[in-house]
Symmetry: C2
Subunit: 252 residues, 2 copies
């Protein structure tokens, strides 16, 4: 089995490295920007290409891993017969791949990826979906080489998983960034918050978050809530976030 | 040096246990509900009391660790001469202790506490503030027995630290809880999110959160943002949180 990667972003990079480390050859890396393709291709011993005309017809699996907005535009240019075509998007339905091949599917790794920080893929849940039971078998076999945590999911379930991930990961990181900004404005090091952030995430590795909520909102500590809102009065957007999330904690 | 603990909540419990483990005797634990006082007193080999009249006059340090709203009411009933009186609140000014003693201060451990999960206090930053340089010395000596990470902070700096902690910890946990609820509604296990949550917190142990933001908002992936908002249309509060945080990511 060999692979072509279409895309060179964070997800493509980490999937490419994980495939390479699992001994699955990556034949080509495509990106419209040759330099980007080269950066990833070098790491996975593949050929970099920047023209779809150069795409080999002899790979077994074509993995499209680009910004969700760009998937459709790319799919429209592909005609891969019965080769397996996959995308890696949480929120894009599987069926958008239909025009590129008769065999297709989704391989959605649920993790936050960086270019540099190598991820332990054996800890990454992978949601898979396939156009037929046969393709499902081949897709699962491929995914299993990356991680033991494979989940069969419909496109609709995967969308919910992605939205949940946006709340739990992207939005949480943004709240860390707000905290960073607040501390910075008073010359306080972000270092002091790091153990708290680590413990907050550690707590829910065993417990459910709904069972371990702490803070002034869940205590209904009105005076403190008001004091915090007053402090934030010159940053209306932060004040609004504080108000809305506190209200939501009380409601839940 | 021996200690009286006024309070029996999560913070009082973990501070009590940390003092006890550091070999600092806890003489009494006070709570208006005797049963609560007993639960903690048992763990730290102290006497449980539920009447302030029973408070010993012979302790060196009195630590008030109750819900912020309740501090003032308790302080009003105390008259401890020149004994050191501390509170453990992030958002309460040190000066509220003035009427209880001539010597006072704050010992604010920056961590999220549970009743059961024992915290490694050596990793907990402790913000301290004291009514005089002399008391500061004694307070630092006490705090140092719990953790090497001691920070001198004014009441105003501590307030900002607390607000930052509410964003980074309390609100993040609430976002985990929203994710839990979304998954539950589709019968998907929260388990799948745990590695993502762990990695999100792990990433900012080295990097700054403002440098590692990922997700559709920072990519300005408008189609996905709209798809997620559409999915949330029957849960207007979640939709509003999604919209506001996405907007805030774009603005920052």
């Amino acid at each position: 089995m060999n692979i072509v990667l279409l895309g060179s972003g964070k997800v493509a990079t980490q999937i490419g490295k994980a495939l390479h480390n699992a001994g699955i050859p990556v034949a080509q890396v495509y990106s419209p920007t040759l330099e980007h393709a080269q950066t990833l291709a070098m790491q996975v011993h593949a050929k970099a290409i920047s023209e779809l005309a150069e795409l080999t017809k002899n790979a077994d699996v074509y993995i499209i891993s680009v910004k969700d907005d760009a998937i459709l535009g790319l799919v429209d240019q592909l005609d891969l017969g019965d080769k397996i075509v996959l995308h890696t998007s949480g929120s894009t339905a599987m069926d958008v791949l239909k025009s590129a091949s008769t065999n297709y599917g989704v391989l959605y790794p649920l993790q936050t990826f960086s270019f540099d920080k190598t991820v332990d893929f054996s800890q990454v849940p992978i949601a898979v979906e396939a156009s037929s039971p046969e393709i499902a078998k081949q897709l699962e076999a491929l995914a299993h080489k990356l991680s033991p945590k494979i989940i069969q999911m419909t496109s609709e379930q995967r969308l919910v998983l992605h939205i949940a991930a946006v709340f739990a990961c992207n939005f949480s990181n943004h709240l860390y960034a707000i905290a960073e900004q607040l501390l910075e404005s008073k010359g306080i090091s972000f270092d002091y918050l790091r153990p708290l952030i680590a413990e907050t995430a550690a707590k829910v590795q065993q417990a459910l978050p709904s069972e371990v909520q702490t803070g002034p909102a869940i205590r209904k500590d009105e005076k403190i809530l008001q004091k915090h809102l007053d402090f934030l009065k010159e940053q209306p957007q932060l004040q609004e976030i504080y108000r809305l999330l506190s209200q939501s904690i009380v409601n839940l």
